[in-house]
């Protein structure tokens, strides 16, 4: 932890302060017994095999930072969330939330977090949104005199103040997810833990949900830990992301920098004349399917080397009279990024 150290290039919004980080995960190990058939149990009752879910996971999240956890299924994301919330005890390691040790001061640590599960059945579907929130206000010890105001406030925040007495079971998936977020915000916690919160949302609802989250982080300075499989969330919301695979941290950086690091040196150019000799000499491939209606053809350069090399190629093309309207390096989707990080670093781990 360094004073005023900028966390990531391209995202200078978050700076680290001298106070402890909001979330600190230090050398956390967790393993579970692997499931066995009855026959195996009877044959070898004393023998146990273990699945290592977390193997020395360490990272910290600064106050007001939006931090993403990425990883393929079975990477250990959910186990990590369970450890952070105190629902699972790690074999080894330490977790603190706002300076409170999750294992030793579970209640104080939990008071720092609002959690949104991917599972929207976390609330009672036979009650309306207000009834659900009033119940959780009591469970979270919100002062009796403040309950109604808090409930109305969070319902307004998630744009559900006008749902009246409609039972939660009749809500759409997006609305249910917003009620879950309202519950997480009831106590105005400094940290939000979100486990794939947009998994069951349509693209429009998901975008609105992300906009709301961004606003919450920016205006309320909340710290957000987000497990996600979504490109928009990893690249558009998260200040930094951590790539987890088979319980190991493979990389921690901004999603953009990781994508930059792991992407190929493949470039595309939008040109008027794909048969131009300069393009032929450069060994481009014409992408017919991407040709636009207004007559710009897309060509792909398989390997242009570094940024300097690409710039030099572009200069040469323009000097040769090639009309270029657009020239860009091909980025990676989140899936491709994960695949490459896991392939390159996972094998070394």
């Amino acid at each position: 932890m360094a004073d005023s150290e900028t966390l990531a290039q391209g995202t200078p919004r978050v700076t680290r302060h001298a106070e402890p980080d909001a979330i600190v995960v230090q050398d956390v190990h967790k393993r579970f017994p692997s499931p066995r058939s009855i026959w195996q149990t009877l044959r070898h009752p004393g023998q146990r095999e273990w699945v290592e879910s977390l193997q020395g996971v360490s990272f910290s999240v600064a106050h007001g930072e939006f931090f993403g956890i990425l990883g393929p299924n079975g990477a250990g994301k959910t186990t990590l969330f369970k450890c952070i919330t105190g629902l699972v005890t790690p074999e080894r390691g330490q977790l603190t939330l706002q300076g409170h040790d999750v294992q030793r001061a579970t209640r104080q640590a939990r008071a720092q977090i609002g959690v949104v599960f991917a599972n929207e059945r976390a609330m009672n579907w036979r009650l309306d949104a207000r009834e659900n929130l009033r119940l959780f206000a009591a469970l979270y010890n919100v002062a009796r005199s403040e309950v109604d105001d808090r409930v109305e406030h969070v319902l307004r925040l998630v744009d559900l103040a006008d749902t009246g007495q409609r039972l939660l079971g009749t809500f759409s998936s997006g609305m249910k997810q917003r009620v879950s977020l309202a519950r997480a915000l009831l106590t105005d916690p400094p940290i939000l833990l979100l486990d794939e919160p947009t998994r069951s949302l349509d693209p429009v609802s998901a975008q609105r949900f992300r906009d709301f989250l961004r606003e919450q982080v920016v205006t309320r300075e909340r710290t957000v830990l987000l497990a996600t499989h979504t490109t928009e969330e990893a690249f558009g919301l998260c200040d930094r992301v951590l790539v987890l695979d088979r319980g190991r941290v493979l990389a921690t950086d901004t999603a953009t920098r990781l994508a930059d690091q792991f992407a190929d040196q493949v470039y595309r150019a939008w040109v008027r004349d794909p048969a131009h000799p300069a393009l032929r000499d450069a060994g481009v491939r014409l992408l017919d399917e991407l040709t636009s209606a207004d007559g710009w053809f897309v060509v792909e350069f398989p390997d242009l080397g570094t940024g300097h090399d690409a710039a030099a190629t572009l200069r040469r093309l323009v000097a040769s009279g090639v009309e270029v309207s657009r020239f860009e390096r091909m980025g990676l989707s989140l899936g491709e990024l994960l695949e490459r990080v896991v392939a390159q670093r996972g094998s070394r781990a």
């Binding site: 629902l87 976390a122 469970l139 979270y140 010890n141």
Partner: protein
């Protein structure tokens, strides 16, 4: 207390949103009292001598037995079944993530069932009284106290099953086993002294034997509370001993579930 009331209110509203189920649950009581009245009337002559010490009227005797059975069934089943259904539906995670201690959560989860059972038990007694069951209403507060102690003596079995539910996701066959043994040995349909002597010695380990005997003496005979002090003492003993075992089992189950990841479904 505030949390328990909030959970009671929420469960009440959710349960009563199933209106037909609520009506059927109450209507079912009529189908219990009426046949019981006729069957008890038919057996009155046979049973009269053996139940002299507990009111002498077989209809009231069985009615009291059924009320006690209703109470102990609820005491045993309410926590494990509510924890089980909350785990299945996914609400348990969110409950455990609040700063509310588990013991308060369990009380809150059970509150609705307890109140609903009390209402049904009261209606059963009122229905019985309407059909001529001889009940000493003046002794009702003392009888209720004994019923409360009886329920508390059975709650630890519920805690043991909740522990099993939390650790292994099943409460196993214990509930039906305990209820069967209690009904068979505890004197619900006949007094304990009529069963064979070797079985009677097993009945000393069944809290219902003491609770039901005291309940009947108070409610059917109008006996003073002091006359049942030994039964009340035994119930208190069960509460302390079984309660300690239940709490210890629950604590171990929580630790085990946190270690194995079974505490959470998500």
């Amino acid at each position: 207390m505030r949390v328990v009331l909030a959970m009671l209110r929420a469960t009440w509203r959710a349960a009563t949103s199933y209106r037909l189920a609520t009506v059927f649950s109450l209507a079912g009581l009529a189908f219990t009292v009426v046949p019981l009245y006729f069957v008890a009337g038919a057996l009155q002559g046979t049973m009269e001598r053996s139940i002299q010490a507990e009111g002498g009227q077989y209809f009231a005797f069985v009615l009291a037995g059924m009320v006690a059975t209703m109470i102990i069934t609820e005491a045993i089943s309410t926590i494990p079944s509510n924890v089980g259904s909350a785990a299945t539906s996914g609400t348990l995670d969110s409950l455990f993530l609040t700063p509310t201690p588990p013991v308060v959560l369990f009380a809150g989860l059970s509150a609705y069932g307890a109140v609903w059972t009390l209402i049904r038990a009261a209606l059963l007694l009122l229905g019985g009284a309407a059909f001529g069951a001889s009940i000493s209403w003046a002794n009702l507060p003392q009888a209720l106290l004994v019923l409360a102690l009886l329920a508390l003596a059975y709650v630890p079995f519920g805690l043991l099953m909740t522990a099993s539910q939390i650790a292994f996701r099943t409460s196993g066959p214990f509930m039906s086993g305990i209820l069967l043994a209690s009904t068979f040995l505890g004197g619900v349909y006949y007094p304990v002294h009529v069963i064979p002597s070797w079985l009677q010695s097993l009945a000393w380990f069944v809290p219902l034997s003491y609770g039901l005997r005291a309940f009947r003496k108070l409610l059917l005979e109008g006996a003073p509370l002091l006359s049942v002090w030994s039964d009340v003492g035994m119930l208190l003993g069960f509460i302390v001993v079984l309660g300690s075992v239940g709490v210890a089992a629950l604590s171990l189950a929580f630790r085990y579930a946190r270690r194995t990841g079974g505490l959470s479904q998500y």
